[in-house]
Structure formats: C-alpha cells, structure tokens
C-alpha cells in the first residue's frame, strides 16, 4: 500500500496529495480535497454523478485512478462559479426546475458546461444525446433539457451583446 505523490490542479489551485495509486480520483477529490460536490451513485461507471472536467474533457472521476491524474487540470462543480453565486447554467437550472434531490446536479451541470463548449447552439436532441452519460431519478430530464437550452440561449445572447 505504498503511496505516491500526485500533483494536480483543481479549480485553479495546485495540490500535492499523497495517494495510493489505486485511489479513485472521485475519492481523492471528495476525501482529500474536501470537494464533495461530485457524488458517487454506482460502481460500474454508468450513472455520471461523479462527472468532472479533466483537461477539457467530461470525465467520470470514479473511473480514473489518482495516479492517472498526475499532472491533470481538473474542474469540479465548485470551480464553475464564484462561491455563493450562481453562474448562467446554475441560475437556469434554478429557474426551470432542473433539479429535485440535487444528487445528480453537480455532475449534470459540469457535463452541461462542457456540452455547451462543444456545441453552443444545441438542439433539444443534441442536449438529450449529449447528456446521456448522466442519470437522474427525480426530474425525468425534461426540465434539465429546458434548463440547458435556456442557458445556451442566454450565453449566446450575452456573447452577441458583447461582440
């Protein structure tokens, strides 16, 4: 059970953590760095509640070893907005009732964030397909899709206004 030093950047801050190579990234984030936003919902990489951003990719943190994350640049839900304030996506989820128990929400919003980088003007079909790696039991997805579509519209008009 020899530990190794893992250096990684999380939400803009550099960290050095002592971890067993087998430690799952989700546990490193939640236990060592106290970032309990990403959650655990299964052990077979299906549910997506653990979704984070790693090096510009949407990644299930339960399926990455700490060792693999050496040198990685990671963003969790906590890093997507200033503490205490809601970004456009978060505000949209609130406005359109895109969450109920909140357990899938960090993973959903983190994934939606990347989805809108991939495709700033998604159709509803694009959103449903692009969010298919995140399960929800409470909402039936309809208002999640609505929230993401509304956020896309808001972000695009803000961009246009800025240009």
């Amino acid at each position: 059970m020899t530990k190794m030093k893992v250096n990684l950047t999380v939400n803009g801050q550099a960290h050095e953590v002592e971890a067993e190579p087998r430690q799952l990234l989700i546990h490193l984030l939640r236990e060592d760095l106290n970032l309990t936003g990403p959650h655990i919902g299964c052990e077979t990489s299906h549910c997506g509640a653990c979704t984070i951003e790693m090096d510009g990719k949407s990644v299930k943190a339960c399926t990455v070893f700490a060792a693999q994350a050496q040198g990685a640049d990671i963003t969790t839900i906590e890093g997507l907005s200033e503490p205490g304030t809601l970004n456009v996506l978060q505000e949209s989820f609130r406005e359109h009732h895109g969450l109920q128990c909140g357990y899938c929400t960090p993973g959903m919003i983190t994934r939606a964030h990347r989805l809108l980088q991939e495709n700033p003007t998604p159709t509803e079909e694009d959103v449903r397909f692009g969010m298919a790696g995140n399960l929800c039991r409470c909402t039936g997805y309809q208002n999640i899709v609505k929230s993401i579509m509304a956020a896309a519209t808001e972000l695009n008009s803000a961009k246009e206004a800025a240009e």
Binding site: M1, T2, M4, E20, P21, R22, L24, E43, T44, S45, H46, G48, T51, K57, S58, V59, K60, C62, T63, V64, F65, A67, Q68, Q70, R111, L115, F129, G130, M131, A132, G133
Partner: protein
C-alpha cells in the same frame, strides 16, 4: 467499488512499456482509457498487480490519412475519432459507429486500442475493423508486426496478441464505399444486442464489393465472407439481402443473456444486417 492495490508505472516510450510487461509477465497489464479495465478492477474481477499507463507515449497518438491509407494511434479516443475532420472524409463509418459507443464521458477517455485489443465480444470496434479489413500493429520484445483484424480474435478475451505485446496502431484503407453501422441496444451506453457493419461499392446499379461484420453475436466479432459475397453482382434487392442475411446468420452463434434469448438475437441480427445493407446501398 475499491480495487485491489497495485504498483503503477507510467513509461514515456513504447520500448519502456514493453520492458515492464516482460519484467512482470502475467502480473502486468496496460491501461489505455481505463473504461473497460478500471470497472473490472473495481469489481475485483481483474487483478492487476502492475498497471502500465500508456497515456504519456506520444507515438500511440494521432490520426493520419495519407495516400489513401488511414493510420490511427491506439490511444486515440472515441471523441477524437468523432471530431477528426480528415477521418470523417476518409472513413465516415468510424464516426457513425463511435457515436453509438457508450456515452459522452466514456467517449472522451475510451480509446480505439482499448476497444479493439482485449477481445471483449461486446465491443463495437473489432467487428468494424474486420469490415474495414484493418491491420493492427503489435509491438513487442521482438519489434513490430502486423496482424489482420480478421485473424486477430480467437475467443472471448483471447486474441493473437502475446502478453508482452502492445497494440500501437490500427491501419486501413480510406474508402468512398457506401457504409452503415446499425446497432440495436437497450439504451445509450449498452453493448449491442446485435450490430452490423457494412461497406459496399456500387457500379451502375450493381454491387461490386461488400464487407459485412457482426458484433456481439458470438464470442468474437464475425466477418462473414459469405454474407458479403451474396451481395456481389446483385442490385441489393430484397432477395439478395435475404441471401446475405441467411449467410450471416449461418456464421454467428449468439448466447442468451439479459438482452434476450438466442432466437431473439438471431432475429435482431437479421434486422441489423438487412437495415445496414439498405443504408449502405443508399449511400453507395
């Protein structure tokens, strides 16, 4: 949920990686995207005392299309297969198939090498590679060798690759052939209930070549030579498709599982083959 402990290696070059495999034999395995291996390790269904992480090996990355030949590094992710513009022109079937694999997060990490090398009969790329008549480059202690996809698979999780070899790249010809990847599955993220990859060429209303491969309908992917042959020289009429389907069904040996009984698998196979042929014909 928690895997057993292991020693971790992250070699910078392919020779170093092979050396580690040689040193530890059975006790060492490579990890590519990890999205097949890590779930197995978490359930303690795979024990890997020495994990060899390939992520820093630059020679395993990248897609090139040159002189009508496509070369894809083993560590290229499904996401990269989907977004690569050159590949979209040279082999659009790759994108069509990759979009039907897993989910967005898994596609960011899952690699073509990982999908192709371990002999999991449920994976989508092996059948597709057989359809494309791809060649795999394996690198081992004695250097590099090429093995055709159509010769690579021996049984479930059993392939031509020696324990000390690492798959480094996949190569196939670019093609303007009609193509289709039809996959029936229970939901996004599931393996195929049945899937068919079809490439065919058409000249003045007649099929001049056809390649048909089937996925998750046996303990290996099945490239059905007779199914393809049944289309050549025809106009892909319903009768011709029927013949191709019959030939394809002759080559498969599906198992019962939660997706359904054997009779259903045959029926699903029938539907996927015929629909893939019709789509490919329309695009040819």
């Amino acid at each position: 949920m928690i895997p057993a402990a292991f020693d971790y290696h992250r070699p910078q070059g392919i020779e170093d990686a092979v050396a580690i495999l040689q040193a530890h034999g059975d006790d060492a395995r490579v990890i590519a995207g990890g999205h097949s291996l890590i779930p197995m390790m978490k359930l303690r269904m795979a024990e890997v005392p020495n994990l060899v992480d390939l992520q820093d090996i630059e020679s395993l990355k990248g897609i090139t299309v040159q002189n009508g030949r496509v070369s894809i590094g083993a560590m290229v992710t499904q996401h990269e297969l989907i977004t690569d513009q050159a590949l979209a022109v040279a082999a659009p079937i790759m994108r069509e198939a990759a979009l039907q694999i897993a989910d967005p997060q898994v596609r960011y990490m899952g690699t073509i090498g990982g999908n192709v090398a371990n002999g999991d009969p449920g994976n989508d790329m092996p059948g597709l590679m057989q359809c494309l008549d791809a060649t795999f480059t394996l690198f081992g202690p004695d250097g590099a060798r090429g093995v055709k996809a159509r010769d690579f698979y021996e049984g479930a999780y059993m392939t031509e690759r020696d324990d000390e070899e690492i798959m480094t790249a996949i190569h196939f010809d670019a093609s303007t052939a009609g193509y289709a990847y039809e996959k029936q599955k229970r939901k996004i993220g599931d393996y195929a209930t049945a899937a068919a990859a079809v490439m065919l060429t058409k000249d003045g209303g007649t099929c001049t070549s056809a390649s048909i491969a089937l996925t998750n309908l046996s303990d290996t992917p099945i490239w059905s030579q007779t199914a393809g042959a049944a289309l050549v020289g025809t106009d892909c009429s319903p009768a011709a498709i029927k013949a191709a389907v019959a030939a394809g069904l002759d080559d498969i040996d599906p198992s019962e599982d939660n997706r359904g009984p054997v009779a259903f698998k045959y029926h699903a196979a029938r539907m996927m083959i015929s629909r893939a042929i019709s789509s490919a014909w329309a695009r040819a």
